[in-house]
């Protein structure tokens, strides 16, 4: 018996979110009186694999072969399911990101294991095994009982803190045969070096209240000064003021940074659905009755054009720039 956690890598490296995932799996294992095992797919060196031990993984299984070079949901599902069966995993933990979402539901069917998707806390109980998950796009949460012997959980991003422990993981290379993938990646278009919106701990986001694409400089400057990323509301990306990959909200990106600045965003239900899991929300809006103030912890009622440059100046002063 054990808890298996799939840790994705980005060009051979793990991220903070990988360590959150392993920390979570270790705590679930502790609740069940067992240990956590991580599985890594692809080319990751031993020193990097060892890092997972610092967050509680007792063992790290490394699977690396040609049929797993690109993410093919069938091939990855086969590989992870084989590992899970070999080690007798009772719970499989996967990130609730694009890759995790393409694998976890397949694992659920393959192993006839109940799926708890978008879970944001440790299980409420292990008998019956009950998880707490987002529902109605953040309008509510649900306590869901996973009724099967083996369970699959996807963990919502930034919902669990990293826990470091003194622990030395055993690294094991495992040979697993999987069929050649049916999907073929023809081309990859990737921006490198840019902080991803979903990874950012601080996000500065602008809405229709910014009036025009020409007014974005202070948003970008504030984000840069704070080491954060920029985002926007849907009308802004629809107008073409900002690129679509910045659209945050129900149908765009769902993010959960530690600090979210909503500037000139009124806070429609669909926008709140994408940001309500942020630890702190700061709202700047000229309408005191805007719904964004109902979810914000800090607010300024005022003209964003006037307030923003002063915020930028204040941050520069604090940072000594």
């Amino acid at each position: 018996m054990s808890v298996l956690v799939y840790t994705e890598n980005w060009d051979g490296k793990f991220k903070k979110s990988s360590f959150e995932l392993v920390s979570y799996a270790s705590k679930v294992a502790e609740m069940m009186g067992t240990s956590a095992v991580a599985v890594s797919i692809g080319n990751v060196d031993e020193a990097e694999l060892k890092l997972l031990g610092n967050y509680g993984a007792q063992k790290v299984i490394s699977v690396n072969q040609d049929n797993l070079k690109t993410l093919d949901s069938q091939a990855y599902t086969s590989a992870i399911a084989s590992v899970a069966e070999k080690i007798g995993a009772k719970v499989i933990v996967v990130a609730n990101n694009n890759s995790g979402k393409s694998i976890a539901p397949r694992l659920s069917v393959r192993l006839k294991a109940a799926l708890g998707a978008g879970v944001s806390k440790l299980p409420i109980s292990t008998s019956p095994f009950t998880v707490y998950k987002r529902a109605f796009s953040g309008g509510a949460y649900a306590d869901v009982v996973l009724k099967t012997d083996v369970k699959v959980i996807t963990l919502a991003q930034n919902s669990f803190d990293v826990i470091e422990t003194a622990n030395n993981a055993v690294i094991e290379k495992m040979d697993i045969s999987v069929d050649a993938p049916k999907t073929q990646v023809k081309e990859v278009q990737k921006q490198s070096g840019k902080l991803l919106l979903t990874d950012a701990e601080i996000v500065v986001s602008g809405g229709r209240g910014m009036k025009s694409a020409d007014n974005w400089a202070p948003i970008v400057e504030l984000a840069d000064l704070l080491g954060g990323a920029t985002a926007c509301s849907r009308p802004v990306s629809d107008e073409g003021w900002r690129p679509h990959d910045e659209h945050t909200g129900q149908t765009g990106k769902i993010i959960a940074p530690n600090l979210y600045f909503a500037v000139g965003i009124s806070g429609a239900t669909q926008h709140i659905a994408g940001v309500s899991s942020s630890k702190y929300i700061v709202a700047i809006n000229n309408d005191k009755s805007a719904p964004i103030f109902e979810v914000a912890q800090y607010g300024i009622v005022g003209d964003a054009q006037k307030v923003l440059p002063q915020l930028v100046a204040a941050v520069k002063e604090i940072k000594g720039k």
Binding site: T77, N98, K101, A140, D143, T183, I300, A314
Partner: protein, 249 residues
């Protein structure tokens, strides 16, 4: 080529949800039901592909697992332009059960492309599409923001962290679509609404498959602390507060 679009019937996305029966069930009183936003975009893209003769797409069918009460939502999909519809007559209990029902439909009817929205706005599990593919042993591609058919082969754009991948996949396959797949959802025109009345909704009885999960109860999100307001004349105070209280700046 035949496309199947799976649609879910969800509360309008501006609904403030409430629960009844000891917080175990959604209070459906006064709720406006709509096609799940991602499914609506997926239907739009399927119809665009059918409109373009070069793709060889001959028909677009919608499938839904739900009771008779969800027929208005299916009619809406027909009014938007789907050729016909299939309803599996079952109360959708969990994603596993719904996907199993849809897989049975696909086994009987045979489709080349199955499109599903990346999540439903009610349960947010992002599960049904990938589960359908696994039940059928088909390839699936998730986070699809574009789907084209070139010389009879599907060319898909998949969103990845910080970029995109162009993928080719042989039919039959499942495409799990997200924002970008179509610009705006197509809206039903009067002619479509008239025609929808006569289009067929084929009824399937469900196969016996147990749900693997059960919702014990719903909870409202934890209340957030009230907003602390800072005077617009002194924005610097906001930064000082954030620095002192959140330690994030």
């Amino acid at each position: 080529m035949k496309i199947l679009v799976c649609i879910s019937n969800v509360p309008d996305t501006t609904t403030k949800v409430k629960f009844v029966d000891g917080d175990t069930k959604l209070d459906t009183n006064g709720i406006q039901w709509v096609i799940n936003p991602w499914d609506e975009l997926s239907l739009t893209r399927a119809l665009e592909l059918k409109d373009d003769a070069s793709t060889g797409v001959k028909s677009v069918t919608v499938a839904h697992v739900g009771l008779a009460t969800s027929e208005p939502t299916i009619r809406k999909a027909l009014a938007i332009g789907a050729d016909d519809a299939i309803r599996v007559n079952a109360d959708p209990t969990d994603a596993y059960n719904v996907a199993a029902q849809i897989a049975e439909v696909v086994k009987k009817e045979q489709f080349d492309i199955i499109m599903c929205g990346i999540e439903s706005s009610d349960f947010n599990s992002s599960a049904v599409g990938s589960m359908v593919a696994e039940f059928l042993g088909m390839p699936s591609v998730s986070a699809v923001s574009n789907l084209k058919i070139e010389n009879g082969t599907a060319v898909i754009t998949r969103e990845i962290d910080g970029g995109k991948e162009i993928i080719s996949v042989p039919a039959p396959f499942v495409a799990i679509v997200q924002k970008g797949i179509a610009k705006e959802p197509r809206i039903a025109a009067m002619r479509g609404i008239m025609m929808a009345r006569t289009k067929a909704i084929k009824l399937y009885e469900p196969v016996a498959i147990d749900a693997l999960t059960e919702t014990a109860k719903f909870e409202m999100p934890a209340a957030r602390a009230a907003c602390k307001f800072v005077d617009a004349e002194n924005p610097k105070q906001l930064i000082e507060l954030l620095q002192a209280e959140t330690k994030l700046i």
